[in-house]
């Protein structure tokens, strides 16, 4: 240790500060808050544990989680933002069926969808993700573990990162017993590792964070890719979708409209800014979100989205 006294004092003050934050910031809806009653059956054998719109890490139940029950076993689609949230989901499943969980599907890498994986990390549960999910987890997991630890009472360590055993580069079918799920890998869109899941029996699509409602869309992949993927999905007919954030279910393709409109407007404004030779920092200050009244968390995520869109679109020819 080469730190001098000044550095030690600095670190100490950080630790004290961190301890104060974590004791003051409990995770609402954490351990114990969940029971079967918090889960709703939106179609036959399809259950959703609805997330609440909040900033990543400030709550551990931000994302919508789901499970589908077949005649042989259960598939879980996203596991929540903490071990406790994953546990709560696991318990809710146990209250509804004696069948075991056989698949966990992570729709993408973000910790609000994957940090509950640990609660399902046991024999005979096969984790499934996009072929680029392992890399994204490995490269970015460390950053998020630290962030989660800042907010959590219990340390959030590497065991929370559970890599997929089966990766998907185009499409696979998962058999739950008289019930097929079709898992599709998408090109870079919301992230570079997005999956969507279709429950064939009920026509329910789980598009993960390709579809946002209420919670402002967050761009962490490619704005062009995202609009392309949504355009393709919107040509398909589904009975309903379970958006990654927002209500437990919504009609298709209407549910995609707000995300498409926001991204489309962001792309046009950003392209115009780039064409005029404007710089990224000023664009972040100047470009406003379309219809901000229909979204929450605009303050937290819009500027970031402008930066991400700018960094991508400035390379267009």
């Amino acid at each position: 240790m080469t730190a001098d006294n000044a550095d030690n004092r600095w670190l100490l003050s950080l630790f004290i500060h961190a301890a104060m934050i974590s004791s003051a910031t409990m995770w609402p809806g954490g351990a114990g808050a969940a029971a079967a009653s918090t889960v709703q059956e939106i179609a036959e054998g399809v259950f959703v544990r609805q997330g609440r719109t909040a900033v990543l890490f400030e709550a551990d139940n931000v994302a919508n989680l789901a499970f589908v029950i077949g005649s042989r076993c259960v598939a879980v689609i996203d596991t929540g933002g903490s071990f406790a949230e994953g546990r709560a989901l696991d318990r809710a499943i146990g209250e509804l069926t004696d069948l075991p969980v056989c698949f966990v599907i992570n729709t993408h890498v973000h910790p609000d969808h994957t940090f509950g994986n640990k609660a399902f990390d046991r024999e005979n549960v096969q984790f499934t993700g996009h072929e680029k999910l392992p890399r994204a987890m490995a490269l970015r997991g460390d950053t998020w573990l630290q962030r989660a630890t800042e907010y959590s009472e219990a340390p959030v360590d590497g065991s929370h990162i559970v890599l997929p055993e089966r990766t998907v580069d185009s499409e696979v079918q998962l058999d739950l017993g008289h019930r097929m799920l079709i898992v599709k890998a998408h090109a870079t869109a919301h992230t570079d590792n997005d999956l969507s899941v279709l429950d064939v029996r009920t026509g329910t699509l789980f598009p993960g964070d390709l579809v946002f409602l209420e919670h402002l869309p967050v761009l962490d992949g490619s704005i062009n890719g995202w609009l392309d993927e949504l355009q393709q999905l919107m040509r398909e007919k589904y009975e309903r979708v379970v958006p990654g954030h927002g209500p437990a279910h919504a009609a298709w393709p209407a549910a995609a409209r707000p995300t498409v409109d926001y991204l489309h407007d962001l792309r046009e404004k950003t392209r115009a800014w780039i064409a005029r030779g404007g710089e990224l920092g000023k664009a972040q200050e100047a470009i406003e979100a379309a219809r901000p009244e229909q979204w929450r968390l605009v303050e937290q995520y819009h500027q970031r989205n402008v930066g991400a869109a700018f960094a991508e679109l400035e390379w267009e020819d």
């Binding site: 984790f127 392992p134 460390d142 630290q146 990162i161 992949g221 710089e279 930066g307 960094a311």
Partner: protein, 299 residues
């Protein structure tokens, strides 16, 4: 340990060391004295020994107070004096005090730069002072400082699309911008005594496709930290005369972008040369010509 579970023990100690480096739970109440501890505690003397540094307005550093994406924090340096043969800014050092490597880069200018302005994007790992120190040709040092709160305080996560940068590695774009009204007015105001309108410095931008990776990200296959791989040297010249040169670190964001000025007074060729830590060299040339009072560039 479950074989699917990552972070084997062998990297645990390294990870803890890194955690300490980037540990940065919200230090929101720190005073300037506390904020500047890295600078006063050794960074300053490592680069400038006991030389006098003026904290004045020779240059102005602009940076967001709060950066929403710590991997792309836009900063700019505005020089408040023109570049003349007699007196000019020859070097600007840029630091993010609390980054694992505080020096972002050294940027060199000449009288041919017209203005020693600079715009670029940084990775900021912690709530940290960002500071620019300019050295004039007579050896004086002048500093401008801002405090930046990177979102979440801590971390500049890895690229969201590593393949995109990799596929086009080394591709460059060179642009000249017609400034918008606001910038033009301030430029004229700042430099009217030295530049006639037709020889007003032109805002140029060099963009380089490069992952510019820090080496602080673990490779999931090898379970090791991938070696850093970033742009180390950038040189831009006009008709053989250097107008902008930089030595840079991984603190420059992925796909490095540099905005700077030059004052072409005739048609000519701009050459951009880039060398990265792997020893790869990239070189492109562009034709620059004044078109009806405005400047245009083409490959």
């Amino acid at each position: 340990m479950n074989r699917r579970t990552r972070w084997a023990g062998e990297v645990e100690s390294l990870r803890m060391a890194l955690t300490a480096l980037v540990l940065c739970a919200g230090v929101t109440q720190a005073t300037t004295v506390e904020e500047d501890m890295v600078w006063t505690g050794g960074l300053r003397s490592a680069y400038f020994q006991d030389r006098e540094i003026h904290s004045d307005d020779l240059i102005t550093l602009e940076a967001p107070q709060r950066a929403e994406n710590a991997a792309i924090v836009p900063v700019s340096i505005k020089a408040n004096v023109p570049q003349t043969e007699e007196r000019y800014i020859r070097t600007v050092w840029l630091f993010v005090d609390k980054n694992p490597g505080p020096l972002v880069g050294k940027f060199h200018f000449t009288p041919a730069s017209g203005r020693a302005d600079l715009g670029l994007r940084l990775r900021v790992d912690a709530y940290s002072p960002v500071r620019a120190v300019a050295e004039t040709n007579d050896g004086e040092l002048h500093m401008s400082r801002r405090f930046v709160k990177a979102s979440g305080g801590c971390s500049a996560p890895a690229s969201s699309d590593p393949d995109a940068a990799r596929q086009q590695l080394g591709k460059m774009k060179f642009l000249v911008h017609q400034e918008d009204g606001e910038e033009q007015a301030s430029a004229v105001e700042r430099h009217s005594p030295t530049h006639s309108p037709s020889h007003r410095p032109t805002l140029a931008q060099l963009m380089i496709r490069h992952p510019n990776s820090s080496g602080l990200q673990m490779d999931q296959v090898t379970r090791l930290y991938a070696p850093p791989e970033f742009v180390e040297q950038v040189k831009v010249s006009f008709e053989g005369e250097e107008i902008f040169r930089a030595e840079t670190s991984f603190a420059v964001s992925e796909n490095p972008s540099f905005r700077f000025y030059f004052a072409p007074q005739r048609e000519g060729e701009v050459t951009a040369e880039v060398i990265d830590t792997e020893g790869r060299q990239f070189r492109e040339t562009y034709r620059v010509s004044p078109v009806s009072g405005e400047i245009a560039a083409r490959p």
